[in-house]
């Protein structure tokens, strides 16, 4: 299995993210139609849902080909997962997450990067970076990049 994309954020449309299947050999890796193996993805779309809980913000991103659920964790100050990090780092991570969460509002176009995973049988993104796009052409350019990479890179079988 081609692992060359394991450490990059694969630019995928929502339809392709939903079609990722668990790699039989690599945990936390997913393959696209038996081709490239990815664990991180990048997508751009309109935020169509927003559900804030004390621990995380769950939001839906619609890019016209599908809707992907994204989760932005907000529990850096309380989770034991971060206890190995330096306190200053934890504060920075918490601050960045809360700042990003505040910008996530329904109707905005966002670029989401993160780890892809399956939750209750549905693919979702655990977001590490969420950037609200101001350029009205950002989504169009993302579609074009997805098409180019989809045809020239991601679907080539190893």
């Amino acid at each position: 299995m081609d692992r060359s994309l394991q450490n990059t954020h694969a630019k995928l449309v929502a339809r392709d993210i939903q079609r990722l299947t668990q790699s039989p050999t690599e945990s936390n890796s997913f393959s696209l139609l038996g081709g490239a193996c990815v664990s991180r993805v990048e997508t751009v779309g309109t935020i169509v849902s927003r559900d804030l809980t004390p621990k995380f913000l769950k939001f839906g991103v619609d890019d016209g080909t599908g809707c992907v659920t994204c989760v932005l964790w907000l529990n850096q100050l309380t989770s034991s997962y971060f206890s190995r990090c330096h306190p200053d780092t934890i504060l920075l991570l918490a601050s960045a997450a809360r700042k990003q969460a505040a910008e996530i509002r329904i109707g905005a176009v966002a670029r989401v990067r993160g780890r892809v995973g399956s939750y209750r049988g549905v693919m979702q993104i655990t977001a590490t970076v969420v950037v609200v796009e101001r350029d009205p052409n950002a989504e169009i350019l993302h579609w074009l990049e997805c098409l180019r990479l989809g045809q020239s890179c991601y679907r080539i079988q190893s």
Binding site: T46, G60, D62, G64, C67, P136, N137
Partner: protein, 127 residues
């Protein structure tokens, strides 16, 4: 937490919205883009236009969007067909100002995206 499934707004051009079109159906989720040519604050209904075709948009569910006639807007929502005139309007879920969008690039890219999705099938953009 409930995992409600939201249908994606299929990007189309207003020229593709005519009574015999595959997109001209009750409750179909669409993404439309055009210049705002009229807006009523009382009814929250606007009209967008692109290449000579227009569509009514019901914006009553939108907040934090200011409307300015002459600007270009993009809406995602569900299409409803009013009877007996068989006239369509979009019940918008989201809306945003997209002044500066390259509409020619947008139309061409939507076509390319449909072709790309069609090659592997199972897309609601390409029934």
């Amino acid at each position: 937490m409930a995992n409600t499934r939201i249908e994606p707004g299929v990007p189309i051009t207003l020229q593709e919205l005519y009574p015999s079109s595959q997109f001209y159906k009750e409750a179909v989720s669409l993404r439309v883009t055009g210049m705002l040519t009229g807006y009523s604050v009382e009814t929250a209904i606007g009209v967008i236009e692109d290449a000579g075709k227009s569509l009514k948009i019901n914006t009553q569910n939108l907040r934090d969007v200011s409307f300015r006639v002459g600007s270009i807007y993009q809406f995602i929502g569900e299409l409803h067909i009013e009877q007996p005139n068989n006239e369509a309007f979009l019940q918008a879920r989201t809306g945003r100002n997209v002044d500066g969008i390259d509409m020619n690039l947008y139309r061409k890219t939507v076509e390319l995206l449909r072709q790309f999705l069609k090659e592997e099938g199972n897309s609601n953009m390409v029934e």
